[in-house]
């Protein structure tokens, strides 16, 4: 289950719409171990392609250092599909290297209605999970009990 604030969903969808017809990609970061996405970081699609995405490698290492120094991790890794459904392709699955992350896919093929779905991808196996969109995390329990909720 992915519990996620509405403003973060809106941020990912807006990014995907803006970059359409190219694929958009990015990260939702949150406190390490919390499972709670707190902020959206748009990444450059170094491929600038309608059917492929790849984080720019230098941007990625800067992100890694920033997350480390803030005690954060990649809670969500998202990207868009611009002509197909929001389901991971064979290539998405083969390359997926963050078993601890939620992989969110957004389809922008319909200009009027987006499709957003979330998956775990572990050892080449895809498991879809429910997405609960909330206005705030205050009343929804997310993550482990030993990680304090956001103020």
């Amino acid at each position: 289950m992915l519990t996620i604030r509405r403003d973060l969903v809106d941020a990912m969808v807006a990014h995907a719409r803006r970059d359409h017809p190219d694929e958009a990609c990015g990260v939702l970061a949150g406190p390490a171990g919390s499972g709670r996405p707190e902020r959206c970081i748009e990444m450059t699609n170094a491929e600038r392609s309608p059917n492929f995405y790849r984080f720019d490698s230098m941007e990625d290492i800067r992100l890694e250092r920033e997350l480390d120094s803030r005690g954060e991790e990649r809670v969500v890794i998202y990207h868009s599909h611009t002509a197909t459904e929001a389901y991971p392709s064979r290539t998405d699955v083969n390359i997926a290297g963050y078993p601890e992350a939620h992989y969110v896919l957004i389809s922008t093929r319909d200009p009027d209605a987006h499709e957003l779905r979330s998956y775990r991808i572990i050892d080449g196996e895809v498991t879809e999970e429910p997405v609960e969109v909330v206005e705030s995390y205050m009343f929804s329990h997310t993550g482990a009990d030993d990680v304090p909720d956001a103020p």
Binding site: E47, Y53, R54, S57, E64, H79, H81, S89, G97, Y98
Partner: protein, 96 residues
């Protein structure tokens, strides 16, 4: 040359769960050989057909070694070597 290597979650099965391990070598290739001696199986996850795996990024002090000679990139005592899985995907079929 002793260096510290940061290991991503997906490769920690080879390091007994450790996220940071020691290794030595004067090039990235030598560091990977030493890692393999200490953590069997890790080399195959990093190197394919004599070059760095396409979807693995290796950095020496935050510099992507692809822009610094690849496996031949120099490593110095005290350097930090970071391994990150590339974040990528798409509809095109790619050779892994």
């Amino acid at each position: 040359m002793a260096v510290t290597v940061s290991v991503p979650t997906i490769l920690r099965t080879h390091t007994g769960g450790e996220k940071s391990v020691e290794a030595s070598g004067s090039t990235v290739a030598e560091v990977i050989e030493d890692l393999e001696r200490r953590h069997s199986g890790i080399k195959n996850r990093l190197v394919k057909d004599g070059s760095l795996h396409r979807f693995i990024n290796v950095y020496v002090n935050d510099e992507d070694v692809r822009f610094a000679g690849g496996l031949a990139a120099a490593v110095h005592d005290g350097d930090n070597v970071t391994i990150l899985p590339a974040v990528a995907g798409g509809d095109r079929r790619v050779r892994l």
